[in-house]
């Protein structure tokens, strides 16, 4: 017998070809799932904070308006993070001795700021401006999700460019009346399409997809 290969190698050869093709496909699929998955994007990932602050409690239970703490959201690019004294304005009375609030009181005493872990953190080359979005009728919940139902804060959306551009291309799908911006429970009406178009017209909402809208 002068056979160099056993007959099984025929099958093996074909198998290996199939395997390679399949493997390549799987690899790409894996890469995408990694990229779009929460491991990279941190979507719905709760991060450790100095104080386990519950938006759910403060917003839906206590009914505190967003702007009570995020004071500059309507006027500045930066929504604003409450200074310790804002926390203390209530918590010097309520839960004044609660152990979990010790870091807050400590900060108030020592003048050392609290160090929160950023949840919504854009790359440094992205320039986002809260005030204009608020002014044009983009609801808090549209980007941040139902914060009023988050015991601990997490990111609702990827904040990827395609996610931003999606709304920038057709705002009429997402905008709401200005008086509804801070309404967490707002549900887009059935006629969102036409309402959206109306709002776009009224509030002169542009669909800006120029690079420099966000990158400078």
């Amino acid at each position: 017998m002068a056979q160099l290969f056993h007959r099984s190698t025929n099958a093996l050869a074909n198998l290996s070809i199939g395997a390679t093709v399949l493997g390549a496909g799987l690899l790409i699929a894996f890469a995408y799932s990694m990229d779009r998955g929460s491991y990279i994007t941190d979507v719905r990932v709760v991060k450790e904070q100095p104080v386990p602050f519950s938006h759910k409690h403060h917003v839906s239970d206590d009914g505190i308006d967003c702007r009570y703490c995020h004071t500059t959201v309507e006027t500045s690019s930066f929504a604003g993070l409450p200074a310790t004294e804002i926390c203390m304005s209530c918590h010097s009375q309520i839960w004044a001795n609660a152990a979990i609030l010790e870091p807050v009181r400590e900060s108030f005493r020592s003048g050392e700021s609290l160090e929160w872990t950023r949840i919504h953190d854009l790359p440094d080359f992205v320039y986002f401006n809260h005030s204009i979005h608020i002014n044009k009728g983009v609801g808090c919940a549209t980007c941040h999700g139902r914060v009023d139902q988050m015991p601990l804060m997490y990111k609702e959306n990827t904040l990827y460019m395609n996610w931003c551009v999606n709304c920038h291309r057709n705002p009429e799908k997402y905008v709401r009346p200005r008086d509804q911006v801070f309404n967490m429970a707002y549900e887009p009406p059935a006629n969102q399409e036409e309402l959206g178009r109306k709002l776009v017209e009224e509030n002169h909402i542009q669909s800006l997809t120029d690079c420099y809208t966000c990158h400078r």
Binding site: D35, I40, D42, T84, S113, E115, L208
Partner: protein, 1038 residues
Amino acid sequence: MNDKPALDLNKIRARLESAQGPLYWKSLEELAQTEEFQAYVEDEFADRSPDWLNPANRRNFLKLMGASLAFAGVTACTKQPKETIVPYVRQPEDFVPGVPLYYATAMQMGGVGTGLLVTSHLGRPTKVDGNPDHPGSLGASDYFQQASILTMYDPDRGQAVTYKGQISSWISFQAALAVARERAILKNGEGLRILTETVTSPTLTSQIQKILKEMPSAKWHSYEPCGRHNAYQGALLAFGRPVNTIYRFDQADVIVSLDADFLSCGPGNLLYARQFADKRRVQTNVTHTPQPKEDWQEGYQEGPIPARSNQSASYADENRGPVILPPQVQAQGKPPAETTLNRMYVFEAAPSPTGGMADHRFILRASEVEAAAWDLAAALGISGATSTGKLKQAAAIARDLQAHKGACVVIAGDHQPPAVHALAHAMNAALGNAGKTVTYTDPIEGNPVDQGESLRQLVADMNGGKVDTLLILAGNPVYSAPVDLDFAAALKKVATSAYLGLFPDETAALVQWYVPEAHYLESWSDVRGFDGTVSFVQPLIAPLYGGKTAHEVISTLAGEPGKFPYDIVRDYWQSQNKTANFEIFWQKALHDGVVPNTAVPAVTVTAKTPPPSSARAAQGFEIAFRPDPTIWDGSFANNGWLQELPKPHNKMTWDNAVWISPSTAQQHGLNSEEMVELKYQGRTVTGPVWIMPGHANDAVTVHLGYGRTRAGQVGNEVGFSAYLLRTSAQPNHDSGLEIRRLGGRHPLATTQHAQTMEGTDPVRVATLDQYKKSPQFVEETEQDKPLPPKLTLYPDYRYQGYKWGMTLDLNACVGCSACVAACQAENNISVVGKEEVARGRHMHWIRVDRYYKGNWDNPELYYQPVPCMQCENAPCELVCPVAATVHSGDGLNQMVYNRCVGTRYCSNNCPYKVRRFNFLLYSDWNTQSLYGLRNPNVSVRSRGVMEKCTYCVQRINAAKIQSEKENRRIADGEIVPACVQVCPTQAIVFGDINDPKSRVAQLKAQARNYSLLEDLSTRPRTTYLGRLRNPNPEIEKG
């Protein structure tokens, strides 16, 4: 090849650590101070916590970009590093994180203050600009003011009080000063000396005078290496009393400058430049005839994507016709027959911006200017003036002046001897200019003395052992005092010497006590403007390095230690006006940046002809000492921006050189960059030659301020020190120089190699008469014939909404280069260092090209600022493989740094070469103190990324967002790019071309309007207005 010689990171880190060492020797209020300082530092967190809090974060992020992007593979977004966000503990009232605040303050140079408006991002000053309300600024500023902010953050600044080189403390210095005070009081001030630079601060003056009153024998000396005492001596000569001269160039139709570079330096130069430019602006009234859309602005059927068209949807009513008119329409723009320009005669040795604007530039050696002045005076028939017959055109000029009696100016340069000033005064008097175009006031200085003499006395006394306590308030005399006085040696003979300075410099090394000085952005003080107007200096940040102000030092000497400068200044002014509503006055003055009606009142004086001076044009080879164009007397030597700013005259950076005229160079067989030895009065220095077209023959000009030994990381061992030749007898110019070839070359880093236009015509020039004959002279050129509107296969884009454009008026631009510095400050542009500049890798987004025309010994000088042209058919965009540079809806040529992969094809394809590339990691990620300096609204570019001018898009966006919130269209002039804001002559105008009423649209409709390299059909949005000259026909003929 290191990225940034400018900042040696390890050394700096070491310094920072040493500065943050244990505080146990510090006094209580010092500790309080440091807390305040801490508080300020915290402010940064709120805004951009990552960098300031932990620079590692951002650096790692960029490192990650490399690795993890490659791994993540399919996306640009990658896992963000953990970043913290740090709120205030107690938020200051008026602070809105993300919205900058503006504070009025003032910066003094040579004692003359200029009102400024400083941008502060959460207690972090980031940008300095002129204060529109200040008479000496009108909103403009120069590159010293622009760059001063870098000095404030400079990590090389003094950070600790030292005694004999050992780290000591402010409290012990106060103790020492108290002892000195006791000793002095006993001797009634005998042996107590205070040496200041030129002081105009009313508060400081009164403080010192209080001490002098208390101890009559104490003395106050002033010395300014590049001061203006010649002007005062001249005034003494002419009027018998020192006066301060103020010119009104807006009233002057004829200007004679006797070696005075009033357009780019000296008191009031910003105002003067504006006034001068206003007299050269050409107003043409063009009737706008908007073209029908289909003809001029034909869009695609599918049109630009909705985003664009939306932009103007709700502005339908304002959807006006476009205003960039095709050439044939522009041609209609006839100038009014009565178009007039002022005319300027300049006598100077070395080319200056003023000389560049001259209609007639007479090249004389500095010493010959006086002769010319005499000839002119004689020609004007001033009694006692005798002609030397040197100046052939004297008669013609005189006729021209006499034709404009009361509407002309004769101005003498600060470096010219008193006689020339006196003659200028006499001529102005004879021409009836006094009170019209020239006004006189009492001096604004607190101590108007002959500074040269004052210093000479001081040194004499020091050597004579008459000085036991010497207090030096800034100025670095050890480095800058005339060499023959040998200040250093004299200093050794002083028992107690103290020095207050920004940097631990040459002087600091020789005194016993060195006290770090507070930068003006950190201090409370006050200062007088060129006309005496007082501005308050208020701090934008607590002293970063625990610096002290002169006020604190003096008040300690006055027996009031620990008094805060704020109180010192406030108390003084309270004592000045005892009105009840002082608080209102105080607040208003602080807010406006000027103290109302504090300008020094005019005085009437009668000029008499000076005695014929003995020093007629000296014979022999001549040397002239001048302050360096960009680092001045050396006080800016450690400022990377100014070191790298191309000197307006020869585009040289990071060096000084021996300027010499082409023909003289030929005689001596010298070439540029060749090392020569200058021998003058037995002293020698060696430096490289720079052949300077338009320089006087048989003379060299050397610039002071270089050759520093203890300036800091940036300024040390750069260039040679001309002070080593400068004597107290002849501080400005003198003959008797010997020049010797040494052989050997010292490469000089210049940003422009070609000197002439090489047959092309980027700058279009015509004389006033030619212009009147054919207004569209800019089109009568070899190339760049105007193109038919549609020279393209493709239909044009329709730019509805906004359509940004810019014009640069070459008739107004004096080439001062302030725009370059402003751009650098606004856009976080990196400093790259001499080696990189020499290679051709400088990063300035806007450059000022300088061209010579005509013969090399007396060429015409032309300046042309070149930012990105924002071409509508941008060649750069076409070739970018990743769409990192594309057009925006309003027609900007966007550059997206984070998308750029760095193929550099765009730069190759840019005919204007306005793109800049980060060949290496130029931006400094390591020097923490510089983080505060950066403009938070502009990305800091990393290695391998292309960058360029985008009309300050961050400012455009800010305005856009504001207007959108208020649901209105952006008003004309609401958006001010940095270069426009800084420009003293308003040569640069920016605005919306779609708005026919906008200034830019008006200017583009002028006949002088042309675009660079038009034949390439790039359709630039940035266009130029042709340059006009107004020569005297008499002289032009003869």
